[in-house]
Subunit: 195 residues, 2 copies
């Protein structure tokens, strides 16, 4: 087996583990927590579908790749609940180590490319990274809204926290942002989210 | 909310259902069957990583999109086990109807684009469709091999059936094909697969 293929197959086997990393969000179809692999699929497709609403130019191919790999570090570092302050401490360091090990399985050039995509996502400075970060907020908000509170209620999350989480993404799509802020308002009105 | 966004959000909510469609394959990390959403994520990434082994030119961005949507029809049509002859009857018709309903949720142009990608995948004539079909064989084979027989044993699948399944993909990557045929040989030797 050629060297590249051997390392690529090892990586493909390794990332099976992302399917066992559970997020806080509950699915709508089944009453179970979402795993990070299916979440990555969902956000990648959401990115592809909603890209037309970006206010600045996007490289869609890069956006989709970024969303496919954005949570791979959770294989080692676990999913950190975004509203858990304590958990957020040390997150960057844990994830950096994870990225080095996991992307290090791949052939060097390919591993470096994915590492750089992941770092770009984390830095949230480019148009693609900003839009990816926004997509990362879309499905959890939809789930919690349509699940009548879902993990917001379970963890006592307030509307201010959810608004901060949306606002933490540098502006990239007025349309999607407005939709999300409106969803928060409707969630408060419906009693799904504490004011 | 702009009309396009409203239909796109409806679609994003709808496709949550793919996470409840179970395939026959067992994961390696957890002893449970894989669902079609996490499978779609896995094959999309596999496509991205292994594209360099294609013998003909590939449009990677199209390949990844195709793999992200290739199983969406299973929301209505269910996952048909590829070694189940009876199940394969009427599959095309069931899936065509499903595609019309599901892609029909989207704004017209976008829905038509995804429909056409899915039809291209099914027809398996273009380089991207052939490579996508090959990727669709990679992870199940890896799972069954590393799971010491997994769903092959459970359903009495033979090596001839697995070889036919690989050979049914028009030639697109000698390297990946050789790897898969070799895996079948090793599976027979190890007693994971009946000759």
């Amino acid at each position: 087996m050629p060297g590249n293929l051997s390392r690529q197959i090892e990586f493909i086997l390794e990332i099976d583990k992302l399917k066992a990393v559970l997020r806080r969000t509950y699915l709508l179809t089944e009453k179970r927590r979402e795993n990070s692999a299916e979440h990555s699929w969902h956000t990648a497709l959401a990115g592809l579908l909603l890209a037309e609403h970006a206010d600045l130019e996007l490289d869609c191919s890069k956006l989709v790749k970024m969303l496919l790999v954005h949570d791979l570090v959770e294989i080692d570092a676990g999913d950190t609940f975004c509203y858990d302050r304590q958990g957020m401490e040390g997150k960057a360091e844990r994830e950096q180590q994870a990225a080095e090990r996991i992307f290090g399985i791949l052939p060097e050039t390919q591993g470096a490319e994915l590492m750089s995509l992941w770092l770009e996502f984390e830095a949230c400075q480019t148009n693609e990274a900003k839009f990816a970060a926004l997509m990362d907020r879309v499905t959890p908000l939809l789930y919690n809204f349509h699940g009548k509170g879902g993990s917001w209620k379970e963890h006592g999350v307030t509307s201010a926290q959810v608004r901060d989480r949306i606002a933490s993404v540098p502006q990239i799509s007025k349309t999607v942002e407005a939709f999300l802020f409106n969803l928060v308002e409707r969630a408060v009105e419906a009693g799904y989210l504490e004011e």
